[in-house]
């Protein structure tokens, strides 16, 4: 698994510093500072454009930061009032959290289940059909989130979308239904979009793991009379525990922060408050209402949730091999 799923990480052991030290021992100072010289440009960019903004979004979340404060640059500290407002807002519990957490749970479950099923199917196919399926899912994967979302919006379009027209032609409904106004059908479409875009990564990753499971083990189990279902749960799953952990955690991180897939749907940009999730809520409060402080507080919460998941991810990675 380490071979198939990790970028090659040879030569990280003891020999590295010996040669990396440079041609001679005389240039000791240069040798010692060289890694920092190499890192400096990248670190400067990351510090100014990623780390400082992260500090700043936290500082904004403690202020009443609106248009006036942007222009004047004067801070207007209000302590934790923004967070108080978030946690006392009924919208958080009835709309935003279910739309964020509930959606992420369903999306991760759907993506991993479909991805695994496709991986198992691909492993059972011959080389020709495996290439065909592989190329097809590559197309689904490569579709940019923005255009992919527009295509799904077009398919489910209320007036002329093919979904409504097909249902009507089959006599299943009398007149077109606007699927975007109802919160559940809205998120069902987002779910379809996210699973369609996300399962190829899971499938390709798990397929790489599957091909690494020793054939003898599976054959032995088959001889002992284990059916396909049991072979999957008793041999494949335990063997690929690490791979599953990684795809589940990464999918969770991605599905928690879906933005374009919601924002670009009809009503998704804040006009339909029922469709808000944490990310979109933060964005529309900031740039729609000019309440940058309140929006920052929501963004801080989203970041903390993702950070917690990331810690789990990093620990999983560290278990696997040294950085």
């Amino acid at each position: 698994m380490t071979n198939t799923l990790q970028a090659p990480s040879v030569a990280q052991g003891a020999p590295a510093p010996r040669a990396a030290g440079g041609p001679g021992r005389t240039k000791n100072l240069l040798t010692r500072t060289r890694p920092w010289l190499l890192l400096a440009p990248a670190l400067a960019v990351l510090a100014v454009l990623l780390l400082w903004p992260l500090v700043r979004v936290f500082l904004f979340s403690l202020q009443d930061y609106g248009l006036r404060e942007i222009v004047s640059g004067e801070p207007n500290w209000i302590g934790l009032a923004n967070f108080g407002e978030i946690f006392t807002s009924p919208e958080l519990y009835t709309v935003v959290l279910p739309n964020t957490v509930g959606f992420a749970v369903l999306a991760v479950a759907g993506t991993v289940a479909l991805g695994t099923a496709v991986a198992v199917l691909m492993a059972a196919l011959g080389p020709f059909w495996r290439t065909v399926v592989g190329s097809a899912i590559m197309i689904a994967w490569a579709m940019p989130a923005v255009t992919g979302t527009y295509v799904w919006v077009w398919i489910f379009d209320a007036d002329r979308g093919i979904f409504n027209e097909t249902l009507q032609a089959l006599g299943l409904q009398d007149e077109p239904v606007n699927w975007f106004t109802n919160r559940y059908t809205f998120y069902a479409i987002v779910l379809l979009n996210v699973i369609h875009h996300g399962f190829p990564f899971v499938a390709i990753t798990i397929l790489a793991g599957l091909l690494g499971v020793p054939k003898e083990m599976l054959e032995a189990a088959e001889m002992d009379g284990a059916g396909a279902w049991r072979r999957f749960w008793r041999i494949i799953v335990p063997n690929l525990k690490q791979v599953f952990a990684v795809v589940i955690i990464l999918s969770t991180i991605w599905d928690f922060k879906v933005f374009a897939q919601v924002y670009l749907m009809p009503g998704g940009a804040g006009s339909n408050r029922e469709a808000l999730n944490l990310g979109v809520w933060s964005y529309v409060e900031s740039f729609g209402q000019n309440r940058y402080g309140f929006g920052s507080a929501i963004a801080v919460l989203l970041t903390l949730v993702l950070l917690a998941i990331t810690v789990v991810y990093v620990r999983t990675m560290l278990k696997e091999d040294e950085l």
């Binding site: 970028a7 990480s9 928690f256 900031s286 989203l302 993702l306 950085l323």
Partner: protein, 306 residues
């Protein structure tokens, strides 16, 4: 027995063996029946999977080439094949300008982040120094930060620098966004270059700089290409920052937000939207094919998704 599970001719051979008793012969024929059924099942699954996977892309293309897309009653194939949607999008639709903007932004992002990421990845892959692990952890963690959290402070920052509505502001942000993943991915490629080759260069009297240029650089080139493709896709697909930082300056729009203008108050020009979406998607697909083999390894090693 394990032979008979792998191919049918072996089944025949087994059952035709004179000393084979009746029971294994029955068992093998039952096996082959099950195998036909499982082959049929697999074929059905493959067809369903292909339909689900390819339908959106197919529908995008079909609508893009249909002169009557969006008028209702559309069939699976365009009723009247036309290139008019593309022609409109690329001229009056303004996508000639948006494509140029996106290409400029993507190119600068790719070049700047490739240089920065390569230098930094050599540092973390080849040297042992204080805080090295801390540095790697920071790079890994910083990728997970949601863009929604960065967009507010960066909007203020870019505004203070008076770079709102300019492509430069956007490029700077994209370099930062693609850098952590670039470093993370390249460090694997740098580490894979045998240390012995470096030592040989030193023995031949090369300086560190000479070694870097003549030994390291050519060997990590494939990795550099793969990483660059990822920064290209990041810059090409990015949506939140383009929408926020470019705001009203529609002459500076990138392709990802240029699509917005085909959405009308009451009706949407679906033929144009799908033609423009096709134009946006094609370069990404081409680049995906180029790096597809490295995808899973790179992404699992720590990733960002568009």
């Amino acid at each position: 027995m394990s032979v008979s599970t792998t191919n049918t001719t072996a089944d025949v051979a087994v059952s035709a063996r004179p000393e084979a008793s009746v029971t294994p012969a029955v068992r093998t024929s039952r096996r082959s029946a099950r195998k036909t059924r499982s082959a049929a099942g697999k074929a059905v699954l493959v067809v369903l999977l292909l339909a689900f996977t390819l339908f959106p892309a197919f529908w995008m293309l079909s609508s893009a080439f249909d002169s009557k897309a969006g008028t209702g009653g559309q069939q699976l194939l365009p009723r009247e094949f036309t290139l008019d949607n593309f022609a409109y999008v690329l001229t009056e639709g303004g996508f000639d300008v948006f494509l140029r903007n996106s290409a400029i932004v993507a190119l600068v992002t790719v070049l700047a982040s490739a240089v920065l990421a390569l230098l930094a990845s050599v540092a973390v892959a080849r040297f042992r120094f204080k805080f090295r692990t801390a540095m790697l952890l920071m790079i890994l963690i910083v990728q997970m930060v949601p863009l929604e959290a960065l967009v507010i402070p960066l909007f203020v920052q870019v505004r203070d620098l008076q770079l709102l509505n300019t492509l430069l502001g956007l490029m700077v942000v994209y370099v930062a966004l693609s850098l952590p993943f670039g470093i993370w991915m390249l460090r694997g490629f740098v580490a894979a270059v045998p240390v012995e080759l470096e030592e040989a260069a030193y023995l031949d009297g090369a300086s560190w700089g000479r070694m870097f240029r003549s030994v390291m650089l050519p060997l990590v080139m494939p990795g550099l290409v793969a990483t660059s493709v990822f920064s290209f896709i990041t810059a090409w697909n990015e949506f939140i920052f383009a929408m926020t930082l470019l705001g009203g300056a529609s002459e500076n729009y990138t392709v990802a937000i240029g699509l917005k203008q085909f959405f009308g108050e009451h009706s949407n020009e679906w033929g144009y939207i799908m033609a423009a979406s096709t134009i946006i998607t094609i370069p990404v697909m081409i680049f995906f094919v180029i790096v597809q083999r490295r995808l899973s390894s790179g992404l699992v090693a720590g990733a960002v998704k568009g």
